[in-house]
């Protein structure tokens, strides 16, 4: 792993020949992509992606009209423990696309925009596992961690407060409606709304 980290600067050279060279250009538009994946487990090294939801944020708008919601066929049957969380049964994955098909759609959607997420590192690590496998590079996009944005905004005023970073707590503190919890797209939209609130709204009051 450590070794791979030193190879990252070479990703750009490697991708330059491929279809994803655009990912390595500087971000030109004032847009952010909010992303969320539903997976078979919580270990990014072994989990399989079941659905990917992504939505663009521009200005004060969440562009749900340009959303991305991909169903992925996992390579092995879904672990029974995770089904109650994401509500995707094995039979629901019938007719879904393979990750190899989904990945180009996702990468084109993201482009060179920063990636926003709730515990975004998990999602990026997951995706990187596959981009490494198929294209030989990791996502170069700037990650934006919702919890950090939240922490920064709140912590300045409540330096000693113990902050609860639970998804539901965040949403209710920021007064944002939760849209379809534990569906990838729903979570992505909710995160996008929380991000907009943090960017443009008042500092939330801690109860």
């Amino acid at each position: 792993m450590l070794f791979q980290r030193f190879l990252r600067p070479f990703d750009k050279i490697r991708a330059a020949k491929g279809p994803f060279a655009g990912l390595f250009t500087p971000c030109s538009v004032d847009e952010v992509v909010s992303i969320d994946c539903e997976t078979t487990s919580l270990d990014p090294q072994s989990a399989d992606i079941l659905t990917i939801g992504a939505v663009k944020i521009r200005g004060n708008q969440v562009l749900t009209s340009q959303k991305l919601s991909l169903k992925i066929q996992p390579p092995k049957p879904i672990n029974q423990d995770s089904i109650p969380v994401h509500h995707i049964r094995n039979q629901d994955t019938a007719g879904a696309m393979s990750l190899e098909q989904a990945l180009p759609i996702l990468l084109n959607f993201i482009g060179n925009r920063p990636i926003l997420g709730y515990f975004v590192k998990f999602d990026i690590t997951l995706i990187n596992r596959y981009t490494e496998l198929y294209y030989g590079f990791h996502l170069p996009n700037k990650p934006i961690e919702l919890c950090h944005v939240y922490y920064k905004k709140v912590n300045t005023y409540y330096p000693d407060a113990w902050l609860d970073h639970k998804f539901e707590t965040l949403a209710s503190t920021l007064n944002v409606p939760i849209i379809g919890r534990h569906s990838a797209l729903g979570d992505a939209i909710t995160v996008a709304l929380m991000y907009l609130q943090l960017q443009q709204g008042k500092r939330p009051k801690l109860m």
Binding site: T51, N60, T64, S69, V176, P177, I179, L193, K202
Partner: protein, 601 residues
Amino acid sequence: MAEHFSFTHAPFDLLTKSQQKLFLDHLDIVYFPEQDHFIKQGETASLLYIVLKGLVEEFSEANQSIFAHYTNNDFFDIRSQFGSPCKHDYRTIEETICHTLPTEVFRDLLNSNAAFADYFQRDLAQKYAQLEAREGNKNLAEFILTRIDDSNVQPAMVIGSDVSLKTATKMMLEQKLETLIVEQDGLYGMLTGTDLLRAAVLDEQALDSAVAHYANYRLISIDQGDFLFNAMLAMTQHQIERVVVKNGDSIVGIMEMAHVLSLFSTHSHVIALRIARAKNIEELKKAAQTLNNLVENLTNNGIKIVFIMELLATMNGQIMKKLFELLVPESVQNQVCLMVMGSEGRGEQILKTDQDNGLILGEHLIWPEQQATLAEFSQHLLSFGYPPCPGQVMVNNPFWVKTSNQWHEQIEQWLLHGQSGDSESLMQLAIINDAHAVAGDKTLLPPLKQQIIDGCKGKEVMLSQFARIALQFGSPLNFFGHIKSNDAGLDIKKGGIFTIVHGIRSLAIEQGIATTNTLARIRELAKLRVLEQKQSQDLQETLQLFFWLRLEQHLTPHQQGMNLLDITQLTPNERDLLRHGLHVVKKFKSFLAHHFMIRDY
């Protein structure tokens, strides 16, 4: 997967699956911070907004007025979706998240789905119909609110008192008048056809004798410029057919009931006449039962609540009086005083409410059938549709029937107990303080009320105890200033009406104000500078709004609790007014607490 837009509520549930997909494919979400003025008047709309969460206000920056509030699942601005520029400005009151749909897509959906289009058209049509209805009703409302002027007054013909019967009759026929005004030494009298007949036929006066003796000099007059409604009220109250219209001291004309009635399309006077002419209880009962219809009519016609309350107070008073006269022997009538209390005493009931009444007996009264007659009285009122008072404040309860001296003793006792903070006694004082005499010897009541005012003067501790009762119910507003109501609805009486009425009552006692009507008391208090001008206006408007909301709720058929208000039934506009009103109440409470030095309420 659960979609991020719910198609379960109207009108979006009318869309077909493919239309829903089109809808979703173009739907964005937009976030606005607080106080964001995001649509300006005159802009061309490109988006239809559907509120997901938050509160948006439609207002006009130019003339500082507010038109509507939009909250979860409301959408705007429909009018501007069809190309016309936005009529008003829109801003967020709280942080708001809206779904946005491009106007072109919305129009496509309207074109491809007739039912969906119909919904909006009907919605619009309904709104216009409401507007038009309001305009149409203006006729009636305007009529009642019309002031008396030359156009609706019949000219008066003034003759000298020495004119002969024959000449007078001739003049009437020639001028096609029904009445003449007779002047005698600066005094004016009214002479009608009936008077002339009486003189000529019954008294067999010579045709050349003077009319002076036959004119009626006790004239009920009304000022020019007063409301037509008040002329009507005066006639109803005095059971007469004509009033004289005066401008200062000079008579300018006559106003006849028949003339007014021909304009008045509601039947208030018809009912009043029926009450007045009822010869027995059965007839009176029939008249009383039509009262509720009258109120409903007036409300539907957009008559102001204050006028309705005033009219109703008069009507109810007449019914009580008539019943009293029918039941109680004449010799007893002028030795006792029938008083109504509670909302009736204040002239604030909007429908037939509980019978709150009591009796003051003269000192030298001998009335053996007293108990039986009074029981009968309450029984008849019950059959007229006046429910019994839950606190038994009724004449069939001997506690509320006392001689003058007994009343004085009783009030003395209540005052004494009230000083030690007995809330029961304080409430009794409040009840009797609002009493209003309707029949019998009305002079018996004022001394009692004066006793209360005198007894409370300077007793700050007691007044504070008294006022504290007004603060016992919390305002139904939550931490963020939104309306709080449980599933059953909002108790508008506890949440607003009682607080204002009792708070004002406390202030009125403190200041020694004799009127019983809360609105009149507020005006008096403003005159005395106890309340600020702005505050008094706010309170008056709020109270009227609450009464109106309450009436509206009472008139809707599917309604169980008497005072519970179903918030969900209100339009966004009404909800907003209510919210504003509750804030006024909240402010008033802190004013009371400060004024009477009440801590920890």
